[in-house]
């Protein structure tokens, strides 16, 4: 094979590669759009009246996940199934965002941590690598860490809205999460960096709980079963 023939062959491989990336990028953009819409919708819970109709917001968000599922479905068809990690970088960010959104919805509904399998099911993808387009464990954990900082914010805002019991529940939840993350041996990568931020969320929530307890507001909350002032 002559040198120029070899380079012509290589060039066509590279062009094909670029076309795939182009298509993936388009799909990912659509996904990002949906994710943004959902985020805007869920941000409503931070405002006073929003806290009351959490179930309705979750309902709406769940509808959006239907769009996400079809979009992910079409993303899957854009590249060979065994080359997931080759193009991983393209959808990594949006997938983490979607994990966070799913985890947030599940938390608002049931106040529990969504499992990796459940997220995969909500997004319409697989939990195991063997079965095709899957949810990478690091992406899942990153999404959960985003949830933690969102809940720290929610704790503050629910006190402002007069809901004194929620911060206590969030505190238990975050503490459990923190203990879970401390079990992991993380490498010095982006996930480690985000994990390092978790303790500030823990601290923030602890401060809120402290403020409530020295004013006796936490007792009022448990007595009144949470809610109106």
């Amino acid at each position: 094979m002559s040198v120029s023939e070899m380079f012509i062959a290589l060039q066509s491989v590279l062009t094909a590669d670029q076309d795939i990336r182009e298509e993936i990028r388009r799909e990912v953009q659509a996904l990002e759009q949906t994710a943004r819409e959902m985020l805007t919708l869920l941000q409503g819970v931070h405002q006073g009246p929003g806290l009351q109709d959490v179930p309705k917001k979750c309902q709406k968000a769940r509808e959006h996940f239907g769009t996400v599922r079809t979009q992910l479905e079409s993303l899957k068809t854009k590249f060979p199934a065994d080359q997931y990690y080759r193009f991983h970088e393209h959808w990594r960010f949006v997938l983490q965002r979607l994990v966070f959104l799913a985890a947030f919805v599940v938390y608002l509904e049931s106040e529990s941590l969504v499992t990796r399998e459940a997220v995969a099911e909500i997004l319409g993808i697989e939990a195991d690598r063997e079965r095709g387009f899957h949810l990478d464990i690091e992406d899942y954990l990153s999404g959960v860490l985003t949830l933690a900082s969102e809940l720290a914010r929610l704790a503050v805002n629910s006190v402002t809205a007069g809901d004194y019991s929620r911060p206590l529940r969030i505190s238990t939840f975050i503490n459990e999460l923190d203990s879970g993350f401390r079990l992991l041996n993380l490498k010095n990568d982006s996930l480690r960096k985000r994990y390092d931020g978790l303790k500030y969320d823990v601290k923030k929530i602890e401060e809120v709980v402290y403020d409530l307890s020295i004013r006796g507001l936490n007792k009022e909350a448990t007595g009144g079963a949470g809610g109106e002032k």
Binding site: V3, L10, Y85, H88, R116, S179, N185, L186, N188
Partner: protein, 260 residues
């Protein structure tokens, strides 16, 4: 565990931000057999396995790089003197060692997505390609893409070829020093072909490839200048003086490049 201990100093300091009493109390609150804890234990296992594998691959890649570099140095000793065959044989032995390492890499990757661990092995692979091609060029001036159970990505291949041109440039200069006047011309021909190939790919390739293009241009210029000098001065200077003339000329080129 080792990962955590490695950066222990840093982490410890950060954790001291928390009052100790509070920490302890918090630990009691958490039930070690709760669903969250159980699932995180399985995450721990999964991440550890993955990191271990990554580290093993990095180590293998390092070994491949070192062995390949040594083989390149060995091949630079190749002059068309009688010991040429010996050197080729010796490098063939080294090559086999590297291939065994690569086979280990391939075994580590069985059942894995190759691209997931790509970053770990990429440098070693490139070095290996460079070396194995250097080898075949010295042999027959004909490149043979290597086939082994591990798949070489086109980009790795391209980057390896780009490194190869640097080695060829060295080979060219040193062969003039040894009084060999034919090799530089053959090499400049070959380098020009590769350069044309790279310009043909141009911007379609990834970022690293276009970066290499600049160095490639420099190597090509050096070799072409060498050929030029040989042609111009070769006709007027007696053969036994050629080496002297040439070495002063290359120094000049080096200085110029140092300035720019």
């Amino acid at each position: 565990m080792s990962g955590k201990e490695g950066s222990g100093g840093f982490r410890k300091r950060k954790h001291d931000n928390f009052p100790h009493g509070q920490r302890r109390e918090e630990k009691e609150n958490v039930n070690p057999s709760s669903a969250v804890m159980v699932s995180f234990k399985s995450f721990q296992l999964e991440l550890d396995t993955r990191h271990d594998k990554y580290e093993r691959l990095v180590k293998l890649s390092r070994d491949i790089t070192i062995e390949s570099k040594r083989t390149i140095f060995l091949l630079h000793r190749f002059i068309s003197a009688p010991n040429g065959g010996e050197i080729l044989n010796e490098s063939e032995v080294k090559l086999d060692g590297v291939r065994r390492k690569i086979k280990q890499v391939a075994q580590e990757l069985i059942g894995e997505d190759m691209y997931q661990f790509h970053r770990a092995i990429s440098p070693g692979l490139q070095e290996y390609l460079q070396r194995s091609q250097d080898f075949s060029t010295s042999n027959s001036h004909d490149k043979q893409p290597h086939t082994c159970s591990l798949k070489v990505t086109p980009v790795d291949y391209l980057l390896g070829v780009a490194d190869l041109t640097g080695e060829l440039m060295r080979l060219c200069i040193s062969s003039v020093g040894n009084g060999d006047i034919d090799t530089p011309f053959e090499l400049s021909q070959f380098l020009r072909q590769i350069y044309d190939g790279f310009t043909f790919i141009g911007n379609t390739g990834p970022y690293e490839v276009s970066k290499k293009l600049y160095t490639l241009k420099q190597s090509l210029a050096k070799v072409e200048n060498a050929c030029y000098t040989l042609k111009v001065r070769g006709s007027e200077i007696p053969k036994h003086m050629l080496a002297d003339v040439f070495s002063t000329k290359t120094e000049l080129i080096d200085q110029e490049e140092g300035l720019s």
